[in-house]
C-alpha cells in the first residue's frame, strides 16, 4: 500500500501530537493531582448518624480550617444553599440527589460534579481568596433549573 511521503509525515506529526496531549493529561493527573470522581461506594461523610445524618444538609468543622459539607440536591435547590467560612479553609463536599440528576459547579474553582441519584459526589477545594463564590446546578432538571444555585461566602480572616 503506497502512502505519499507528505501524508506519512502528516500522520506521524498528528499521531505524535496526540501522544504529547495524552502525556500531558497523564502529567496533570499524576504530578499536578487533577482527580476525577471515581467509584462512589465508600465516599459517604464520616459521620452518618445523629445530628450529622447524611439525609440532612449540614456543614461542620472537622478542625481549624477544615470543613465537611453534606449537601442535598433536589428540584430546585441545594441544601445548604449558603456556606460560610474563613479564607484558607479546605472544604470537602459530599452531595446526594433526592430526585433526579443535577449538577454542581462552583464558579472560578475546579469543583464540578454530576449529582446522580444513588451515587455520592465528592470534591475537595481550598478557598484561599475571600469573596462570594456562586455555585449552580449545571445539568437540566426541569422548568426551574435556572433558579437552582447557592453561594459559598469566604470571609477575611
Amino acid at each position: 500500500m503506497h502512502i505519499d511521503r507528505y501524508e506519512r509525515m502528516w500522520i506521524t506529526i498528528s499521531g505524535g501530537l496526540l501522544i504529547v496531549f495524552a502525556i500531558a493529561l497523564g502529567f496533570s493527573s499524576v504530578v499536578l493531582g487533577v482527580r476525577l470522581p471515581g467509584l462512589s461506594d465508600q465516599l459517604l461523610p464520616t459521620a452518618a448518624a445523629g445530628p450529622h445524618d447524611i439525609n440532612e444538609g449540614w456543614v461542620r468543622q472537622l478542625a481549624p480550617g477544615r470543613y465537611e459539607v453534606n449537601m442535598r440536591a433536589r428540584v430546585w435547590n441545594f441544601n445548604p444553599g449558603e456556606i460560610r467560612g474563613p479564607a484558607g479553609s479546605t472544604v470537602t463536599f459530599y452531595i446526594h440527589s433526592e430526585d433526579i440528576i443535577h449538577g454542581f459547579k462552583i464558579k472560578d474553582t475546579t469543583v464540578s460534579l454530576m449529582i446522580i441519584p444513588g451515587q455520592t459526589a465528592k470534591a475537595t477545594y481550598t478557598f484561599t481568596e475571600p469573596g462570594e463564590y456562586l455555585f449552580v446546578c449545571h445539568d437540566y432538571c426541569g422548568a426551574g433549573h435556572h433558579f437552582m444555585s447557592g453561594r459559598v461566602i469566604v470571609e477575611e480572616l
Binding site: L25, S28, L39, Q119, H138
Partner: protein
C-alpha cells in the same frame, strides 16, 4: 464561475429508479422540515440568553426547555437521521449502480421512521417530553416519546439491512471487485451506527419504555446514563461520516480534483468502526460511580478517534489542491482561491470544513479531563458542537442538497444567488455564535439553562450572550435563505436540462493503486470493535447491572 462542476466526457449512465429517488427525497424532506423548526427555535434561544424572552408569543411552546428539547431532538435526531437515510439510500444505489434490495423495504423503513417521528413530534409539542436530547432518567417523558425514538432507531437498522443486502448482491454480480467508494462509506457508516445503537436500544426498550408505562418501579440513573453515552458519542460519527462521504468522494470532483489517496480514505472510514465506540465515558468524567481508570482509557481512545479525522484533513485538502492546481492555481496557497467558491454546494462544504477544524480542536479540549473540569456542562460545550454537528454536518448536508435535491427532482435550483449568500451567512453567524458560547462557558455559564431568566445571571456574561444572540440571528437568516431555496426548488422551479443532472463522483488520483484485502472487508473490524467495547465497557456495565437499583421513580418537573 457557476456550473464548473459539470463533468466532461465521463460516462455517467446509471440513474437510480424513480421509486428510489422518491424514497430519498421523502426522507430528506421530512428531515429538512424538522430542521426548519429546529433552526427557528434556535433563534429564540439565542435571544433568550441576551435577556429577550419571546416564548410567550410562540404557539405550542411553553418555555425555553420545551423549545430546547425540540431544537435538540429535531436537529440532531430527526433531521440528521432522515437526511442520512435519504442520502445513504441514494449513495448505495448510485455507487453500486444497481437497484436497492429492496426499494419496498426502503419504503417500509420510511413509514416506520415517519410513525416514530410523528410520535416524537406529538409528545414534544404537547410538552410531554421536555427531557432534552439526553433523556436522562429519572426525568421522565411520555411513553410514546421513547417508543417513537425507538422506531426511528429500528429504521436505521433496516437501512443497514438494505445497504448490506444490496452490497452482497453487487458482490455476487461483480466478483473480485472492490466496493465502490461511496457505497463502501455508506456501509461503514451504518455498520458503526448499528453497533453503537445497542446502548440506547437496551436503555429504551429494556428500561425507559417499561418504566414510563409503569411496568417497572423505577430506573437506575447511572446505568441509563452509561447506556446512553455508549451510543451518544458514536452517534456524532453517524452524523459526520455521511459528510465525509461527500468531502472525500464528491467535493473533489466538484472542484475538478481527484481523490488523493484511496487506501487511506478507506482506512480512515474503517478506523471509525472500532474507535467511535469506546469513548462514551468522556461525557461522564464528572460522574461518581464510574472508575477513574476507565475514564482515563476512554480519554486516550477519544484522542485516538481524532486520528482518522486528522488523516481526512490531509487527504481532502490534497484532493482539493489537485483541483485548484488543475484550475490554474499557483504557489503554496494560490490554488485555494482558484477553487469554485461561487458554486454554493462547494463553498458550503469548504466553509463547513473550516468550521470543523475549530470544532475538532474544541473537542480535544472537552476530551481532556483536566480541562473538562472547567468546561463541563458549560456553554463551552454547545460552542463546540455547533461547530461540529451544526457546521461540519448541517452545512455540508445543505451543500449536498444544492445538487442532490435538483438531481432527485429533475428541477433547477430555485435561486443560485440565495444559495451563494447562504453558506457565508452560516459561516460568519456560526463563528460569532460559537465564540460567544465558548466565551460564556469559560466564564462559568451553564449550558442547557434559561440564562436570561436565571436568578444568578452575571454581568460579565452579557457581552458573550449578545454575541450568541447576534450569531443566532445570522444563522436563522441563513437557514431561511436555505429553506426558501429548498421549498422553491421542490414546488416552484422549472425542469432542468439533462447536462445539469450529474452526480459528482471523484476518481482516485492513482488509478491502479493496489489495495490490501482487509481494506475491503468489514468482518475483521466488527470483531475488533466488539472486543474493544467488551474490554472498555464490559466491567462497568456488569457492575452496574449487578448493583441494579430500580428505586428511582419518574419525575416530570417541566
Amino acid at each position: 464561475m457557476a456550473a464548473t462542476n459539470v463533468a466532461k466526457g465521463v460516462a455517467d449512465a446509471y440513474t437510480p429508479p424513480v421509486t428510489e429517488r422518491k424514497l430519498s427525497l421523502a426522507f430528506i424532506a421530512v428531515g429538512f422540515a424538522h430542521l426548519l423548526i429546529g433552526v427557528l427555535l434556535g433563534f429564540f434561544q439565542g435571544l433568550e440568553h441576551a435577556g429577550i424572552d419571546l416564548y410567550a408569543y410562540l404557539p405550542l411552546i411553553r418555555h425555553y426547555y420545551q423549545g430546547l428539547s425540540i431544537h435538540g431532538v429535531f436537529n440532531v435526531l430527526v433531521f440528521t437521521t432522515c437526511f442520512i437515510g435519504g442520502f445513504l439510500f441514494f449513495v448505495v444505489g448510485r455507487g453500486l449502480k444497481r437497484p436497492l434490495e429492496s426499494a419496498s423495504l426502503g419504503w417500509l423503513t420510511f413509514w416506520l421512521s415517519a410513525v416514530g417521528v410523528i410520535l416524537v413530534d406529538y409528545t414534544l409539542f404537547t410538552n410531554q417530553a421536555s427531557v432534552l436530547f439526553t433523556s436522562y432518567a429519572p426525568l421522565q417523558a411520555h411513553p410514546l416519546y421513547y417508543i417513537g425514538l425507538a422506531l426511528v432507531v429500528v429504521g436505521t437498522w433496516l437501512m443497514l439491512v438494505i445497504s448490506l443486502r444490496t452490497t452482497f448482491a453487487w458482490r455476487r454480480e461483480n466478483p473480485g471487485q472492490r466496493i465502490p467508494l461511496i457505497a463502501f462509506g455508506a456501509n461503514v457508516t451504518l455498520i458503526m451506527w448499528t453497533m453503537a445503537s445497542i446502548g440506547v436500544a437496551i436503555e429504551f426498550v429494556g428500561f425507559l419504555i417499561p418504566w414510563s408505562l409503569g411496568w417497572l418501579p423505577g430506573t437506575d440513573p447511572l446505568l441509563m446514563r452509561t447506556l446512553f453515552w455508549l451510543t451518544g458519542h458514536p452517534i456524532v460519527y453517524f452524523w459526520l461520516l455521511p459528510a465525509y462521504i461527500s468531502w472525500y468522494f464528491m467535493v473533489p470532483k466538484q472542484v475538478g480534483g481527484k481523490l488523493f489517496s484511496e487506501p487511506l480514505a478507506r482506512l480512515a472510514f474503517l478506523l471509525f468502526i472500532p474507535l467511535s465506540l469506546p469513548v462514551g465515558f468522556h461525557h461522564q468524567y464528572l460522574d461518581p460511580g464510574v472508575s477513574e481508570g476507565y475514564k482515563a482509557i476512554h480519554a486516550f481512545l477519544t484522542f485516538a478517534v481524532f486520528m482518522p479525522s486528522a488523516m481526512t484533513a490531509f487527504t481532502v485538502l490534497a484532493s482539493l489542491e489537485i483541483g485548484g492546481r488543475a484550475r490554474g492555481g499557483k504557489g503554496l496557497l494560490g490554488w485555494v482561491t482558484k477553487l469554485p467558491w461561487g458554486d454554493a454546494s462547494v463553498s458550503a462544504q469548504l466553509l463547513a470544513m473550516v468550521l470543523f477544524s475549530l470544532g475538532g480542536v474544541s473537542g480535544l479540549i472537552n476530551a481532556s479531563y483536566n480541562m473538562n473540569l472547567v468546561v463541563h456542562n458549560t456553554m463551552f460545550v454547545p460552542g463546540h458542537f455547533h461547530l461540529t454537528v451544526g457546521s461540519a454536518v448541517a452545512l455540508t448536508f445543505m451543500g449536498v442538497s444544492y445538487w442532490l435535491v435538483p438531481y432527485l427532482t429533475g428541477k433547477r435550483l430555485f435561486s443560485k444567488r440565495m444559495a451563494a449568500w447562504q453558506p457565508w451567512l452560516w459561516f460568519f453567524g456560526m463563528l460569532i455564535m460559537s465564540r460567544g458560547m465558548s466565551w460564556m462557558g469559560m466564564l462559568g455559564a451553564p449550558r442547557r439553562t434559561a440564562l436570561g431568566s436565571a436568578s444568578y445571571f452575571l454581568a460579565e456574561w452579557t457581552p458573550p450572550a449578545w454575541m450568541t444572540a447576534i450569531g443566532g440571528v445570522l444563522l436563522t437568516t441563513s437557514g431561511l435563505l436555505f429553506f426558501i431555496n429548498l421549498f422553491g426548488t421542490l414546488w416552484a422551479s422549472p425542469k432542468a436540462a439533462a447536462q445539469e443532472q450529474q452526480v459528482p463522483l471523484a476518481e482516485p488520483y492513482e488509478e491502479n493503486g493496489t489495495l490490501p484485502n482487509w481494506l475491503d472487508r468489514f468482518t475483521p473490524w466488527v470483531t475488533t470493535t466488539a472486543i474493544i467495547v467488551l474490554i472498555t465497557y464490559g466491567p462497568t456495565i456488569y457492575r452496574l447491572i449487578t448493583d441494579l437499583d430500580l428505586s428511582w421513580t419518574g419525575l416530570r418537573p417541566y
